[in-house]
């Protein structure tokens, strides 16, 4: 099933015309209504009229997460306050988050792309969608919700957590579609096994899993254990939320809804554009966002664009699953963490050496964050219990600061690499 065959299977040349028209309109609105873009255009000596072809997008400035943070809270809005009907923020960061604003038209657009995504996973009016993404400022919960309502399916807005209740509801309500992070899907499957619930007794047919990096091995495990089709969904708050791209049942990459979000791939070092088939950083431009037009947003996500024909019939360009990041950002159990945040939190603790190393592992399916810190006379004691108390104190402090459970390990002084230029602070042992 295809939700919007006209848009999703459109002739490529025709789509390009639509994209150009929409790009020109977006650029004009950004220039006229967002002081930030007005200033950047002036600095670069460009005007909206300079965008005469899709190729000309290269003339436009990039937008980074930092730019958005500096515009906190509403500096990137292109419409009067009274036209904003909803706001969301990006997850994880403790400092200033980035804010995304929506007009009624934006919510309609979001519902449309999410309806397309859910339809790719086989959702119809008859389905019951158990939405375990968090509801709130995080875009995951409401994004899925709007799409489900657009499709006319029954949405179970259970939100995240309380796994036993999730399992109870899943059985009692006969859930057919599951939406959550892939690691939570695996966790659910483990609890199901423990509770003695057989997958054959469940009615699950598919799942939309995203908000973190995952692998084909994880897909196989989820499909095997839950007895459903596990599909990859991609999105980010800065652009709209979930629903930027979605995998169809061919499972050969994620179709980007490029009539609304224009993708480019760049070399993160030279910032030069790379052709389809080459691996680089994904850059996205919104083509129809009203409240917050974003030009050339550097997602930092590493992927490859694919233009070959997909057997599903959609002509939308595809991207490979995300295989990495072009910055030092870490996503641990779906939460964004920068090493600098961990450093800041550590330095607030009296008596701690400013030397640390972050080790990320995924022993089974859930990410584990280990922080190695050097023992100092202040942390050390002749008694085991005092050292363990100190360790626990650091763990609790970090959990409070970065919002994640961590495991702190004390190592000997001078045993961690010292910063000579750039110290290797992060060892990511997960395989993507």
């Amino acid at each position: 099933m295809i939700w919007n065959p006209k848009a999703e299977c459109m002739d490529k040349e025709e789509r390009k015309e639509t994209q150009l028209k929409r790009l020109q309109d977006t650029v004009k609105r950004a220039y006229e209504n967002v002081p930030y873009y007005h200033r950047r255009f002036n600095e670069l000596g460009i005007e909206p009229e300079d965008i005469e072809s899709l190729e000309d997008i290269k003339k436009l400035p990039f937008t980074t997460k930092k730019d958005l943070r500096e515009a906190y809270p509403f500096g990137m809005f292109a419409v009067p306050d009274e036209d904003i009907i909803e706001v969301h923020t990006s997850s994880g960061t403790t400092g200033k988050p980035t804010v995304s604003g929506y007009t009624q038209k934006d919510i309609n657009l979001w519902s449309e792309v999410m309806a397309r995504a859910l339809t790719m996973a086989g959702a119809t009016r008859k389905d019951r969608i158990q939405n375990c993404y968090g509801y709130g400022l995080f875009t995951g919960g409401l994004g899925i919700h709007y799409g489900a309502q657009r499709v006319g399916a029954t949405v179970i807005p259970i939100s995240a957590g309380n796994t036993k209740r999730q399992i109870q509801i899943m059985q009692d309500f006969e859930t057919t579609i599951l939406t959550c992070t892939p690691s939570y899907a695996l966790y659910l499957s483990e609890v199901l096994e423990k509770e003695g619930v057989k997958k054959d007794n469940l009615k699950l047919k598919s799942g939309l899993f995203g908000a973190e990096m995952w692998t084909e091995e994880m897909r196989n495990a989820i499909e095997e254990r839950l007895g459903l089709e596990a599909l990859n969904i991609y999105g980010l708050t800065e652009i709209i939320g979930p629903g930027v791209a979605m995998e169809c049942q061919e499972k050969n990459g994620l179709h980007i809804f490029e009539d609304h979000f224009y993708p480019e791939i760049i070399d993160p070092n030279t910032k030069e554009n790379l052709p389809p088939g080459e691996k680089g950083e994904l850059v996205l431009t919104t083509l129809t966002r009203e409240a917050m037009p974003i030009l050339r947003f550097r997602t930092r996500d590493i992927t490859t664009l694919r233009t070959d024909k997909c057997p599903c019939g959609r002509t939308l360009i595809r991207m490979d699953r995300i295989t990495g990041r072009s910055d030092d950002m870490l996503k641990i159990r779906g939460v964004i963490v920068f090493p600098s945040q961990i450093e800041e939190a550590l330095l607030k603790i009296n008596g701690l050496e400013p030397h640390y190393q972050i080790v990320v592992t995924r022993p089974k399916y859930l990410d584990e964050l280990e922080i190695q810190v050097e023992a100092s006379p202040k942390l050390f004691s002749d008694e085991v219990k005092h050292i363990e108390e100190a360790k626990k104190m650091i763990e609790e402090h970090l959990q409070k600061e970065i919002g994640l459970r961590v495991n702190v390990t004390l190592v000997e002084p001078e045993s961690l690499p010292r910063s000579e230029g750039k110290a290797i602070r992060v060892i990511d042992k997960r395989k993507f």
Partner: protein, 143 residues
């Protein structure tokens, strides 16, 4: 009378204990008593040496985290029930023993034991009242 003990942080890795002991050997420091507390992630090496300050300096020069703290060293009759009687005194006084370990050498017919009570001062008081012979730092260096 209190005795100085040095504690050394050891990462749970091959060769760490050897490195610490080797540093002391090179500085010609004789170890009188020793114990290791180990957890799955780290260990604490505890030592009684004649010159604790010097030992601390030597170990710190070798990048170890070292702490000096007070413990009680007592003479225990070297026969069945010897230690039991000492612990009995502490239990009677409702005193918690954090850890305990023995010296390498004996003093005459007496075994020597290091005791770390939660509160060192009251530990000494209780033992002294029970007439348990307590060693001083000088005693340690002349063993």
């Amino acid at each position: 009378m209190k005795v100085k003990q040095i504690s050394v942080f050891l990462e749970n890795k091959k060769g760490r204990l050897k490195k610490a002991v080797h540093a002391l050997a090179k500085a010609n420091i004789n170890i009188r008593a020793l114990s290791i507390a180990d957890t799955s992630e780290f260990g604490i090496l505890r030592l009684i040496v004649p010159e604790p300050e010097k030992a601390k300096k030597v170990l710190e020069e070798n990048n170890f985290v070292v702490k000096i703290n007070d413990v009680i060293a007592v003479e225990v009759p070297d026969k069945p029930g010897g230690l039991d009687s000492i612990l009995g005194i502490l239990t009677e006084a409702d005193m918690n023993v954090e850890y305990i370990y023995a010296f390498v050498e004996k003093k005459g017919e007496k075994a020597l034991v290091v005791i770390r009570t939660e509160d060192i001062e009251s530990g000494i008081k209780v033992l002294r009242e029970a007439k348990v012979p307590i060693l001083s730092s000088e005693d340690i260096s002349t063993i």
